[in-house]
């Protein structure tokens, strides 16, 4: 009976009910959004920390810039010099590994390209590959399902070694070799389905989401080669800190007369710098979120007060016709709970869709759901909704108990 009346009141005042639902959805989503955004910063850090075997604290990004006004011969000489320099550096005890990586279009291998097309090929006819220097085989966390792991691979200098995404596993076997215009490639392994890798526009720490830092590797290819680009990562060895590794790097560079070409930034510094920018953005964002949230809550309270006033006559009529005040209070409570639960469910669905989008590239989605959504966002939003519902319900009950049914109906005392 009470339930019927509660839902009847909701359906007969559908516009007000929907407005309440909308306001609760907005405030809940705003709260969830703020949690996701603040937590996501840690996700970015952790994603990169996990992907680098030595971790963020032990890694530095190097920029070896030798200018662009060199002739072809000079360039070749420089490449050779850099190669020797890097080989020397990687021999030092302080340094775990040093190597470059870059993503781009590589020589066509039609058999692989046809498969890559399913995942949305980036280039026409050319394979999209992430090229990693063989010296950096131990630098990235790479998981394979078949073939030989890069850290155990005995790389030969005359060929490049391919690690194919899980999308290739039913078509290509490890050991397959290709010869394209004299360049030799060998499929060394198939990557695990969970494998992710840095995006080519990897700007560590600045991106707002891990989605823009990494991507999944289903139709991607990692290519271990002798080719160097100008951007490198260097990892310090266990037992040494990153500063000792950098010191050693510069002492070796001096021998090659290259110390002026090398610029470095530790990933931790980059993260902190980016965090400063993020803090500023976050500050503004949180202010906006607070304003939106408070406005929604105030509007919600006003909507409920207006609803209470407009329903007051009906409550008075019910009271005068045999319903008790507690019956009416129950109706109001059920009504408020129904609106809140409905709004909360909608918010959760929207939030889950949003999280799915924001954390698309993240390694372990269930971990994200558990840590951010289940442990923080949902309890926090639920607490706010419960507080609002309790406040509004208590407010309504206090008002109802203070007024006589005649005043509710609009009767006079003379």
């Amino acid at each position: 009976m009470i339930l019927n009346f509660a839902f009847d009141f909701l359906s007969k005042n559908i516009r007000k009910s929907l407005l309440s639902v909308f306001l609760i959805v907005v405030s809940t989503l705003v709260i969830m959004l703020s949690v996701i955004l603040s937590e996501n910063r840690d996700e970015v850090y952790e994603t990169i920390d996990t992907l680098l075997v030595c971790g963020v604290e032990q890694t530095v990004e190097l920029d070896i810039n030798y200018g662009d006004d060199m002739g072809l011969e000079q360039l070749k000489e420089m490449q050779l010099k850099i190669s020797e320099f890097l080989d020397d550096v990687s021999e030092e005890a302080e340094i775990n590994c040093i190597g470059s990586y870059s993503t781009g279009g590589y020589l066509p291998i039609p058999e692989l390209y046809e498969i890559q097309k399913k995942g949305g090929a980036t280039f026409d006819e050319y394979l999209n590959m992430t090229s990693i220097h063989k010296n950096a085989a131990d630098m990235f966390k790479i998981e394979i399902t078949s073939g030989t792991h890069p850290s155990e691979m005995k790389f030969e200098s005359d060929k490049d070694y391919l690690y194919l995404g899980s999308g290739y596993k039913d078509f290509i076997n490890p050991g397959t070799e290709y010869d394209v215009n004299g360049y030799k490639f060998k499929v060394a392994g198939i990557l695990d389905e969970s494998q992710i890798f840095f995006d080519d526009n990897f700007t560590f720490g600045i991106s707002a989401t891990s989605y823009s830092v990494t991507h999944d590797m289903k139709y991607e290819i990692l290519c271990f080669s002798d080719y160097h680009t100008s951007r490198f990562l260097l990892c310090a060895n266990e037992g040494y800190n990153i500063n000792q590794a950098i010191e050693k790097l510069y002492s070796v560079a001096e021998k090659y007369d290259m110390e002026d070409y090398i610029l470095y930034t530790t990933l931790n510094d980059k993260y902190e710098m980016a965090n400063q920018e993020w803090l500023f953005i976050k500050n503004i964002l949180y202010k906006l979120i607070t304003i939106v949230c408070i406005s929604c809550i105030l509007m919600l309270i006003c909507t409920h007060i207006l609803d209470l006033l407009s329903q007051m006559r009906n409550y008075g009529i019910m009271y005068a016709n045999g319903f008790s005040v507690s019956d009416i209070c129950k109706i109001i409570t059920i009504k408020n709970i129904a609106v809140s639960v409905f709004a909360f469910l909608i918010s959760i669905i929207i939030c889950l869709l949003a999280v799915n989008l924001v954390f698309k590239g993240y390694e372990d989605m269930s971990d994200v759901f558990n840590r951010i959504i289940v442990n923080i966002a949902i309890p926090l939003s639920l607490a706010v909704i419960v507080l609002i519902t309790v406040f509004i319900t208590l407010f309504s009950i206090v008002i109802l108990r203070k007024l006589s049914p005649l005043r509710m109906i609009g009767g006079q005392n003379d």
């Binding site: 005068a320 008790s324 109906i409 005392n413 003379d414």
Partner: protein, 220 residues
């Protein structure tokens, strides 16, 4: 049936103490049709609300069928009202988003009475508005709305019906019709107490209680 002894009711409005009822003594017998008249602010509606258990009195005794109900708790008073009293208001007090049928059904729902349809249709037919059962109150005339309110008061079969200015919002002819309705209900044995300032209505009642300045005076 109803006996009031030295009933007083004081209000404090904006810090000003008002004696709405000063010393009311009255007795109402079962099956009577009574009019309470008085000028505006005389306390007639306050008396009606006290009779209906909708307002507490400041002091005095209220006996209903020999039982002193003056000290009833709110829940006891609610039960008393549910079993014995039905209200009819000047502004009809119908829920505008509910149909005539649903409005009449409401007191039965509150009393958890089953087989409601038969009772409702019987009363709607008695009031001559059975064919309007699916209409909303605002789609009906004032007289029809008041008939609906009377049907709602009748469905619970309470012994006492209290009507606060039931013809106040109606024209002369409709008022006459409504008065006839009250007379017919009264003949069935219901005790009806009507607050009115319309002497035509009052003169058709068995007895008139006049209230002036919070004090009662029997007229007839």
């Amino acid at each position: 049936m109803i006996k009031l002894e030295h009933v007083k009711k004081d209000f404090i409005v904006n810090g000003i103490y008002t004696h709405a009822l000063k010393d009311i003594n009255a007795e109402i017998k079962e099956g009577e049709l009574i009019a309470i008249i008085g000028t505006s602010g005389s306390g007639k509606s306050t008396l009606l609300h006290i009779l209906g258990g909708m307002e507490n009195m400041t002091s005095g005794r209220y006996y209903f069928n020999g039982t002193d109900i003056s000290a009833y708790s709110p829940s006891e008073m609610h039960l008393f009202r549910k079993e014995n009293i039905s209200f009819i208001f000047q502004n009809f007090a119908l829920m505008n988003k509910y149909t005539v049928y649903e409005n009449v059904e409401m007191p039965l729902i509150a009393r958890k009475i089953k087989n409601r349809k038969k009772i409702i249709m019987e009363k709607l037919e008695q009031m001559g508005i059975a064919e309007m059962k699916d209409k909303l109150p605002l789609q009906m005339s004032g007289g029809q709305q008041q008939r609906c309110a009377i049907a709602r008061a009748l469905v619970t079969n309470t012994p006492v019906i209290l009507a606060d200015e039931p013809t106040g919002a109606l024209d002369t002819n409709t008022s006459k019709d409504i008065l006839e309705c009250f007379k017919a209900i009264n003949k069935d044995g219901k005790t009806i107490i009507i607050v009115t300032h319309d002497m035509k209505v009052a003169n058709n009642c068995d007895r008139i209680i006049q209230i002036e300045d919070g004090l009662i005076e029997d007229r007839k």
